[in-house]
Symmetry: C2
Subunit: 251 residues, 2 copies
């Protein structure tokens, strides 16, 4: 009952035919809404809250997490530019959303989102596609966690970050890493020490090169991919299908 991430086509899948103001896109629903912003550390909504709005992230990164009874925190995903979060058929927020960096976003009421989506077959299709992406992402994450090695997890994470950053067209000489080591650890089911050691190790082997604390360069992407378990190399598949990124919503 939770969250994650997904693929998208934020930049330009807008009307191909000129002069068509009505674009059938989930992102279009947020068009007229006022811009809001969140300072780092600010909370957008809490786990268990009744979910009232759906948000479109325009800039910045949020962490989506749940706290287990014994206090452990699990970050189910990071929401970034182009993601839609807070979505759900009804009920409560399955996770807390908190700004990592400064975030700007738009919101609409959840019931309105639902009504508009249901009214349009195109939007419904897009919504379903996005949900499928969402499940895919969640299961990829589960697979990442099921793989034993700490190194595989870290490399897998970096690889995803790289791909996601490169999505916008900008090649990935150096990728941003706005979240803390603690965030990464809680996302990968490791301790910060293990994450740190793995980073150090990868650096010494020349796979990555840290650039300050919140960015790094991928020196050997191929090696990184191999260490991550070679993935399925399904990189070049379902991008730009019109599916919106979305994350975090009640069951």
């Amino acid at each position: 009952m939770i969250i994650a991430s997904a693929v998208s086509s934020l930049p330009g899948h807008a009307p191909i035919l000129a002069g068509a103001p009505a674009e059938p896109s989930l992102h279009g629903l947020f068009a007229g809404q006022p811009l809001e912003s969140l300072e780092p550390g600010a909370t957008l909504f809490w786990e268990g809250d009744r979910s009232r709005h759906v948000f479109e992230v325009l800039k910045g990164v949020l962490r989506l997490y749940r706290i287990l009874p014994d206090g452990r925190r699990i970050i189910v995903g990071f929401a970034q530019e182009g993601d839609i979060i807070g979505l759900a058929p009804d009920e409560h927020c399955p996770a807390t959303a908190e700004a990592v960096s400064e975030v700007s976003l738009r919101r609409i009421e959840r019931c309105r989102f639902r009504a508009l989506t249901e009214a349009s077959p195109a939007l419904t299709r897009e919504f379903i596609a996005a949900l499928c992406e969402e499940v895919a992402a969640a299961q990829e994450h589960a697979m990442l966690l099921a793989r034993r090695g700490a190194e595989e997890r870290v490399c897998g994470f970096l690889l995803r970050q790289m791909q996601r950053f490169a999505e916008g067209g900008k090649s990935a000489a150096s990728i941003p890493l706005p979240m803390s080591r603690t965030d990464i650890a809680d996302h990968l089911g490791l301790t910060i020490e293990t994450v740190s050691r793995t980073f150090t190790n990868l650096t010494q082997r020349g796979v990555i090169a840290p650039e300050g604390r919140h960015a790094l360069a991928i020196r050997r992407p191929a090696t990184l991919a191999r260490l991550a378990g070679a993935e399925d190399d399904t990189d070049t598949s379902p991008r730009g299908t019109g599916a919106a990124r979305l994350a975090a919503w009640p069951h």
Copy 2:
């Protein structure tokens, strides 16, 4: 791009009003289809296959898994009675489906499933609800894997099996465990030895009692739940919402 499990209301969420033959349910789509059956070990579809059909599982259990490049197998979920598998907007199967025990099922063409679902708002809603359940399940699984202990994972798994078995109304004095230890290990990201040791340990502590190799009794459900990490105890919430169980489908 994968699979898992989800919640459902197979038995009787049928028409409340008598004499209403047209029940708006995803399961209803399979009504007229011929019964098929699978021997243990038989494969229903392969990871990477073009997905042509959607299946309703009537009896038995299937494992849904992916093989990583290095040969490791990850069981993303088990499909059981009431689950719908093979579903997807399009593309390919994200996982292999293989019968664990003898399985009986029905199938319909994927495109027909899609057309019928899209034509009915009620079915669309049910489909979306099922997808949400699916994500929820995937993320619960991810959380299970992110939590460190082997014991927590095994107990969490047993708990889910218990709940799922009890769903049909039958109380869970003894629950079936048709899958092998290897299957369980590959599902939980552990080795068979660790799973076996954990079972032994739980038995010695009187929490469970094995009944042959493919069933066991839960002697102390409360202890089991506690060892599993107490979950969120959200047991009593979203059951019987009309959402179909579904699992495994392309992105």
